[in-house]
């Protein structure tokens, strides 16, 4: 019991009763309103983001040479847009995980059935002719009777291999250099360390295009112009600063204790680095690897400027020249090349998604 008089000034008793029910119902409707607005927004922004990819795939599998037919796109959209809206509605209305999965499965099944009925008859694989026929441009053109002036394409697999080589080599070099440099920056004191960290960020802030002319001259004089190795070096140079910066954050998070422990356990500094410290930053290495690889995979400006012979073409150049040459005749082939170009990075992202989510750049200590 509270002593009488202590809280005497405050209102008490039934006179000041609070209408809890009214407040609860107001909060409920407010919450529902907010959720509805959020989902409406998500639907509005997700459609234009997903639609291009969806169309890309649809066109790649359905467009015919010399025919500008957009009807199939409208039909596919008639399936797709309701499916997206239904998906968000399910996400909003589902009470639990089971309902959510049931709903999504149901929508997916219905959408696939509708897609098969409405779009299915138009699907074919002829646009992927470039996979087997290097001189596909002439063939495609001959279908509409215009063969003159077709570009001599290399095999797409050649371009694919070049891209893999550039992206892969770049990834390996960046990973090696960045992990060593970041470890040193994280663990050792040396004059100019803070300035170096700052300059890493400044370097990354440079628009790389500004350096394209000096780079061209440099490669020309070194003799690496029109070689894959030259492009790899340039890409590595531009990717390194940021990679080092991110890796430093990861190394900073590794406690000193386990490293000291490894040293007293009889490891040398290098052994401690390889066996104890590196495994702790595995996620960082994976994230850097994926980002660097994809950066190399989609590289366009440098390969366009520094590579000349068509045997040195990468996938991005291949894509560019396909667009240049057969776009007017058959945009289905262009889309098909796009799909082929997209698939490796998509697979890589999906496989590494788990690790990419963990990237975070901690506080920067000078």
């Amino acid at each position: 019991m509270v002593a009488p008089g202590v809280f005497g000034d405050l209102p008490s008793g039934p006179a000041a009763a609070v209408d809890w029910d009214r407040m609860a119902s107001r909060a409920r409707s407010l919450r529902r309103g907010k959720a509805a607005a959020l989902y409406a927004f998500l639907i509005a922004v997700s459609l234009p983001i997903i639609l291009p990819y969806f169309w890309l795939v649809t066109i790649a599998f359905s467009a015919k040479t010399g025919v500008a037919d957009t009807l199939v796109l409208w039909r596919s959209m008639a399936v797709f847009a309701p499916a997206v809206i239904a998906f968000w509605l399910v996400a909003m209305l589902a009470q639990n995980r089971r309902q959510l999965w049931l709903g999504i499965t149901a929508i997916a099944l219905i959408a696939m059935l509708a897609f098969a009925l409405l779009v299915g008859p138009d699907l074919h694989l002829r646009n992927f002719i470039f996979l087997v026929e290097p001189d596909f441009a002439s063939i495609v053109r001959s279908r509409v009777g215009e063969v003159r002036g077709a570009i001599q394409f290399p095999s797409v697999w050649r371009a694919f291999g070049n891209s893999i080589l550039i992206a892969g080599a770049q990834t390996v070099i960046v990973l090696t250099v960045a992990s060593l440099a970041a470890y040193y920056l994280s663990r050792f004191q040396f004059p100019g360390r803070a300035a170096m960290l700052r300059s890493l960020l400044v370097l990354h802030a440079f628009p790389v295009l500004t350096l394209i002319v000096p780079m061209f001259l440099m490669l020309y004089w070194i003799g690496l112009l029109d070689t894959l190795f030259g492009v790899i070096l340039v890409l590595v140079a531009f990717e390194l600063p940021f990679a080092i910066f991110i890796m430093k954050g990861f190394f900073d998070a590794v406690p000193w204790d386990i490293e000291m422990s490894a040293l007293t356990d009889g490891a040398s500094r290098r052994q401690a680095f390889v066996w104890v410290v590196l495994p702790q930053v595995r996620n960082g290495l994976l994230a850097i690897a994926v980002f660097t690889f994809i950066r190399g995979w989609e590289e366009y400006i440098f390969v366009f400027t520094f590579l000349i012979r068509n045997t040195n073409w990468t996938m991005s150049l291949y894509m560019y020249y396909v667009r240049d040459d057969v776009m007017g005749v058959n945009y289905g082939v262009v889309s098909a090349v796009g799909v082929f170009y997209l698939v490796p990075s998509l697979i890589l992202y999906l496989a590494a998604q788990r690790y990419l989510m963990q990237i975070s750049i901690g506080g920067v200590k000078g």
Binding site: P255, D257, I258, M260, S261, A262, L263, T264, D265, G266, A267, S268, Q271, W275, V276, P279, Q280, R282
Partner: protein, 354 residues
Amino acid sequence: MAKVEFRHVVKRFGDVEVIPDLSLTIEDGEFVALLGPSGCGKSTSLFMLAGIYLPSGGELLFDGCIVNEVEAKDRNVGIVFQSYALYPHMTVRDNVLFPLRFKRMPREEVLGRVIRAANLVQVEELLDRRPSELSGGQQQRVALARALVKEPQLLLLDEPLSNLDATLRLTMRTEIKSLQKKLGVTTVLVTHDQIEATTMADRIICMRAGRIEQIGTPDDLYRRPESLFIASFIGSPPINTISGEARDGVMCAGAVGFPFEGAPGAVTVGLRPELLRFTGSGLSGRIAQMEPMGREILYVVDTDLGYLRVLEHGSVAAHAVGEPVSIGFSPDDSLVFDTASERLITTARVGPPA
């Protein structure tokens, strides 16, 4: 096993001198605690022993040989960190095995040693787990196994118990102590917890600001603290201190006069709470607060000289809050320090006021 010696060791970090001049000897097979508040240089000394820090000056000797320049990996020292520092990506087996990877040793013997080390600290069932799947106490044991597996000549423990809960701490204390006696390995324990130090170590080296304040057995430090710092640092609940001015057989503190025996001057008297008693006469006051601690009760008494702590045995409170009491003690239990130098005046005694 090794005898360890610091000879005028200096350690500087940049311009900061953490250890100005440290000289001490640790005998072969001894269990020594480095005790002191945080920042007193005890962990720095430990890391110098481990070879992680290089001394800035002086000599560090193992069995009479200077090891200043010997690398950590060659020192054959086992260390248990406060955080245990287990390698998160390895199983317990690989963790314990790690120190043996660097020794040329047949596979059979390596595995045998791992099993033996695991048996020693009773983690043999956990060998296939990862450190993240272990409780704090289990991680501690694994860290011990890893430190012991290479049969080190020196075992270093850096606040090994501070991350454990109270009950587990008690068990591990006993276990580490008996393990040390069984193996006879020279052991250095670094701690800021006086109970850890007094319960486990044969000898305590009490440090303050990089210097040794006192070296002695736990009993020495408790009964005959050489300075006011040690007296206040050792003992729980902490010692009561009364500052006053001594002359002509009387020490005056505020308006209270204590019978005094010794040279005149400014003195500080230390009185252990457990050596104070409620008596008919003495320093009068009023009980301000009562803290039951199970086996004993701590009374906080409001006197003219401020709050004094009195520890009484028994679990039933004999006094109530607000009750007027008089505090008495035996003059032989009083510790008299010179206020200026904070050093113990061994010849001086103070008795309770009449």
